[in-house]
Amino acid sequence: MLVAVGCSYRNTPVEMRERLAFGADKLGRALDELRVRYDCEAVIISTCNRVELYLARPGATVAPDAALIAEFLAETHGLPADQVRPHLYEHRNADAVRHLLRVAASLDSLIIGEGQIAGQVRQAYEAAHAREAVVGPLLNHLFQHAARVAKRVRTETGIARGKVSVSSAAVDYVREVFSHFDDKTILVIGAGKMGGLTLKHLRRLQPKRILVTNRSPEKAEAVAHGCGGQAVPWAELDNALARADIVLSTTGAPQPIVTPERWEKVLTQRKKGSVVILDIAVPRDFDPRLHDGDRTWLFNIDDLKRIRDATLQERLRHVAPAEAIVEAETERFVKDWARRRIGPVIERLIQGCDAKRQAIVQHVHKKLNGKLTEEERKYLEKMFQRLQNQILDGPISALTEEMLQEEAHRGHTLLEALRKLFGLHE
């Protein structure tokens, strides 16, 4: 029995997700508690977009449901259970497998195809695996399968292609203009949060120099210190613009700080070639007329968002093939698991029948001692084997069929019947 209970950005506001999230301190205790309280294997995935509990009781006919898990979550996080329950969804057996595969393959993510979730699923599994007896054969097999499927989806479809963050899209535009960065100067104007992220991406290009300017010298110093740059007084902005190859602007100024007239003066000072301006401030810091397609390449937040939108649009084309992979892999996992579950039972059944058949064949041989040729003896053995196969074929097929059907997980009626009828004990 496998069950996945949780909430995600789809149905739960961020305030509630924050309250239900498991930090490192709570996670270990929660996993142990789940194991002890419900006698099950457990993995908890807790990210900023989802909190999900995967619980498994191989061979059992019941497992905790959403109501029980709501009580558990409420208890763990000190919330009323009736506040938690409405946010929880529940998937069972094959649906739970499918859900995990979709989550790991980033088909259920806020940004489809994002690369973080596969790692987060793996970390959740590793955290549970590190604790004694929390993860057993079913979740071991399931989470390893999920990791393989996530990789397969990423490599076989284009779902992970392209850039989806504004800051990495900015670097794409810079790379269209420049190839070498060891002789380039980056000028950072302002100290916005988005600017920090973009600067992080730009720093990976390993520029020669980073200049930082801000109306507040302290803030300029702080940013410069953080990125290994050099603070420049705000009064020397024009001079810094003339020296820069890449400008990253992210001030909170209500009006453009660089007008065409001011830029003309800067250009007369410039001895360098092209300059790329990444204006990610809202309202914009640079007048859009500066983009001349010759020396000045100006890209603002809207241009960068267009890259992200185009990437997401492109990724949507790959959702159907990715879903097909998930569906096929879900079916494969369920069949594989069913075989694993009934494999030992069938093996014991066949072994028992083999022993009885061989005993009967021996007995017949004794009775007919010397009356049969070697060829007739072999034929007789073959016929007994065929009879055994035909008798067992029906029960084995029916059992396999039952294990593959969801209903079977609730009762395993045939499996139990088979055990009783043939005396197949664990």
Binding site: V177, S179, G293
Partner: protein, 267 residues
Amino acid sequence: MMFERVTVFCFAASYAVAFVAELLQLLRPRPVLRLVSVGFGCAGLLAHTIFLAVQRPGLASRDGYLLFLSWILAVFYLYGTLHHRKIAWGLFVLPLVLGLVGLAVLFTPERPAVEDSWLPPLFWVHVLLLLLAAVGVCVAFVASVMYLVHARRLKSKTLPGQGLKFLSLERLEEMHRRAIVLAFPLLTAGVVVGMALLAQSPRPVQTWTDPRVLLAVALWLVFGVLLYLRYSLHVRGRRVAILTIVAFVLLLVTLAVPHTLGGGGAP
């Protein structure tokens, strides 16, 4: 012998198929199309090489000169295609190769008035210098066209990675700079040697006013202006690219005009 049956059509057709595959690749990107393009490009270069080796068109003739020039550019195409696998290299270089081959076909094979073996060694130095300078002009032309197309796409803020893929503007400028820096001394030396040859001519007045001589000097002047703009006035980008295209057109006209020296053949 089988190699003697290799004609201009063989390699021109191969280059044309390679170009069509590049165009199709642009419309529907498929790895197989890139393979077809490279395969036919290689086949074309092989046939081109065999043709030059077996047929031995005279380097002193216009058609031979153009065929040698297009061969060097075909090598440049193949190198670029293999080196910059994701870049739309063939789309820009192959039309140039095909154009030069087409121009060579337009000129019926010329037989110089004087046999090649009778031409002075200085003449061959002149031809070789101008051939290498022409390669530089062609490479600078390709870089300029790519630069202009890429700059136009960026000006209209086409999304990176959408459609054609280019080298960065900086790389294209660098390629252009290297080409003209190499071509100018070669062109200068070629023109100087050519003038020395003209001075020895039995009819100096007529040869100095030869249209091809005047065009070669004009080409040299355009190149001079190009370098002056680039290095003294720090002019870059679009204007330099446009001037390079002018220089290339001038080169084509120069190559198309018959020459009195060497019996109408030489550059």
